[in-house]
Amino acid sequence: MAPDINFPGKLTDEHVKLLLRRHPFVLIRQNLIYILYFIVPPILYFFGKTYFSFILSFPIYPVFILLISLYYSFFLFFLLVEWIDYYFDAWIVTDRRLIDVEQVGLFKRTVSETRLEKIQDVTFEVKGIFGTIFHYGSINVQTAGAAQNFTLNQISDPAEIKSALLNLYEERIKTSGLENIPPTAPQAPDKSTPTDKSTPLSTPQAPSGRPQGSNNIIQDIK
């Protein structure tokens, strides 16, 4: 699950841990119409042969063959374009960050990323009969601050991926040394001096390996 790939902005000591794409069944389901497109020429041929036998005569037959050849060439080309749309949509998880590459058609691409230590919460959802049968679903990664949330749509084995993401998060927290930093602010109110009632009542906790607990400290550090 750790493919050797390069991408723009990859650091020298950064390692790709996961390369995720939508489940292949999604590609097939979205392009079922191509099966219909595929069988149109044979149906036309057999229908024409039965009811309009003149299509096998001289001027029409060679033209028909050339048209069918062009039809299947373009059919294959558009299948390739559909595959590009599927294949270029990817989520890359490195040991430092999560990158969301969203491809719309051939010419539009949106790339967004978040650092792993910014992850607050990871939830997954398996929806529908096909999702249950083929084990694919969506993972929602909630990040700290005003950064957008990441949704990994229709990926295989969302439960496993969720665990992997949390493990990578914990590894990142350990290796970056964020785990040992003591809580800094805000402090508990000092009872000896008069204070305003709006003072925060809870102090942030040190990271305990769970994303939710460590988030406040990470935000303070940044």
């Binding site: 991408f7 001027p59 050339l66 062009l70 299947y72 294959l76 080309f77 595959w83 294949y87 890359i92």
Partner: protein, 92 residues
């Protein structure tokens, strides 16, 4: 009309498709987020494309493209029409 012109039309459209293909291939090769499996899809795509074009060319090489097509001319329709008008005029 010679049927050879239809073959030329076929090759012109095929050339346009080839341009599309070159564009898409460059687009894929320049793309930086690829995994290791895209080459397999490429190979399958080109084998299928070569299959389609190969079978078409088997037919093209076998066929005599110098035959003439006799399309019905406009006069085939108008002659009868004019004739009927002339008949009507003469009858007056």
């Amino acid at each position: 009309m010679n049927i050879f012109y239809i073959l030329i039309g076929y090759y012109i459209i095929l050339g346009i498709l080839a341009l599309f293909n070159i564009f898409v291939i460059l687009h894929i090769v320049k793309y930086k987020y690829l995994g290791p499996y895209y080459k397999i899809i490429f190979i399958v795509y080109f084998i299928l494309m070569m299959g389609i074009l190969g079978f078409t060319h088997l037919f093209i090489f076998k066929f005599d493209w110098n035959q003439q097509i006799y399309l019905p001319s406009i006069s085939d329709f108008t002659d009868g029409f004019e004739g009927s008008i002339n008949v009507q005029l003469n009858n007056r």
